[in-house]
Point group: C2
Chain length 213, copies 2
DNA sequence: GCTAGTTTTTGACTATGAGTCGTAAACCTG
DNA sequence: CAGGTTTACGACTCATAGTCAAAAACTAGC
């Protein structure tokens, strides 16, 4: 599944089924694994049918579901992956495919609705204790933009002042030195930041209960 | 896979293969999924061959691996589960099966060594931001016992004073009101605690960046 | 070029959670 | 009852996080 912040909301890419099981319901992109194929390769292959895979900045496994109410006629397992796309990109998608706000899903096929909500929770956790933001934010950004991303993904207000202090202290983001004029209505130009790492890294201060020396 | 704190160390239950692929190497309990079978049911079925499943206090999915160097002759996927056993229990295990310290693994079959290490990291995270301790600690315990569990699982020193304050503040543990004489050599009797919940629950103070009001 | 309006940055202040350490409490044995 | 042992408690310090208001840096209009 692919998530992206669009129009100030966290959205997921779904396609509308045209055929029998769960006809007209919205489903996650996906499909069958081929003999000898790697899980991640299969994911990328099926994803490619719906979106330009090169624009997916992060991909990780969510979990394997088989025990829930899937297609009642077939017994199968499904491994769900979570992919993230950076703010501002607008990948081309086919006719049957649309972005939907995660907080306002249409009727979904299989157990896909629950899986999307699980992914949202996973993402919220990662945003808090890792540098996962790099995969949702543009390569360089102002604090206002980054704040928008966090607000949409976390689902609550975030103070820009605080966001900056926390992420800078954790050495997750750093200023590039550039500045960017803010909007057309004037205002002090904003500093431009970037994420230090472009690979997922757990923020160290998992310090809970660790002695200081 | 089943983890337990034994002899002051985090240990994993492994069995020694007697037959061809990876002969004599140590492997995680497991086996093939049957048609129509639920993932968790399959795990419990295979686990039952090596250990009394009723003594497994917590079971969760770790991930599905297929792309790594598994049995070179067969193409297959494997979904790993993490099970926890409480301190003090000593389940009966078959001849070919032994507990091994996670920090000192024997030569392992397939990619099982890496999977065990991944499980250790997952567990360390959960101990820090959830009540996962309930699955490793006995039903009731003194702070000294709980401290032993945390030291073994986290791999670093833990202050008993601090452990108590943190877990009580988060409402993860609570005193039972009882006391328990400490060892044979005298000393003040220790208070007896228990975990409030016996279901996994994320500790709320995921407060990162959340406004206070 | 000056003033008003806008947006961002900065710093001071406060609150809270966590780590350390010394001392008191409560027990044992001889 | 004295000395040893283990646990609990409280005071102190430090680090991180949240709030707020003032300063800085710009645009637009006059």
């Amino acid at each position: 599944m692919v998530l992206q912040v669009r129009a100030g909301a966290l959205q997921v890419l779904l396609w509308q089924r045209a055929r029998h099981p769960w006809r007209d319901a919205w489903a996650l992109p996906g499909g069958l694994l081929e003999e000898g194929e790697t899980l991640e390769a299969s994911i990328r292959r099926h994803l490619a049918a719906k979106v330009d895979v090169r624009e997916v900045s992060h991909l990780e496994q969510l979990g394997t579901y088989g025990d829930s109410r899937r297609d009642p006629e077939v017994w199968e397992l499904a491994t769900a992956y979570l992919g993230l796309v950076q703010l501002g990109l607008d990948p081309h998608v086919p006719q049957d495919t649309r972005w939907h706000p995660v907080d306002d899903l249409p009727p979904t096929a299989f157990d896909h609705g629950a899986i999307v909500l699980a992914a949202r929770e996973r993402l919220r956790g990662k945003l808090s204790y890792s540098n996962a933001g790099f995969a949702l934010a543009p390569p360089t950004f102002t604090l206002a933009e980054l704040r928008e991303v966090y607000v949409a993904a976390l689902g609550h207000e975030v103070s820009a002042t605080n966001l900056r202090r926390v992420l800078e202290r954790r050495a997750v983001i750093e200023p590039t030195g550039e500045r960017r004029p803010s909007g057309s209505a004037g205002g002090r130009p904003a500093e431009v930041f970037r994420f230090r790492d472009t690979q997922l890294a757990i923020t160290d201060p998992f310090a809970a209960l660790r002695p200081r020396r």
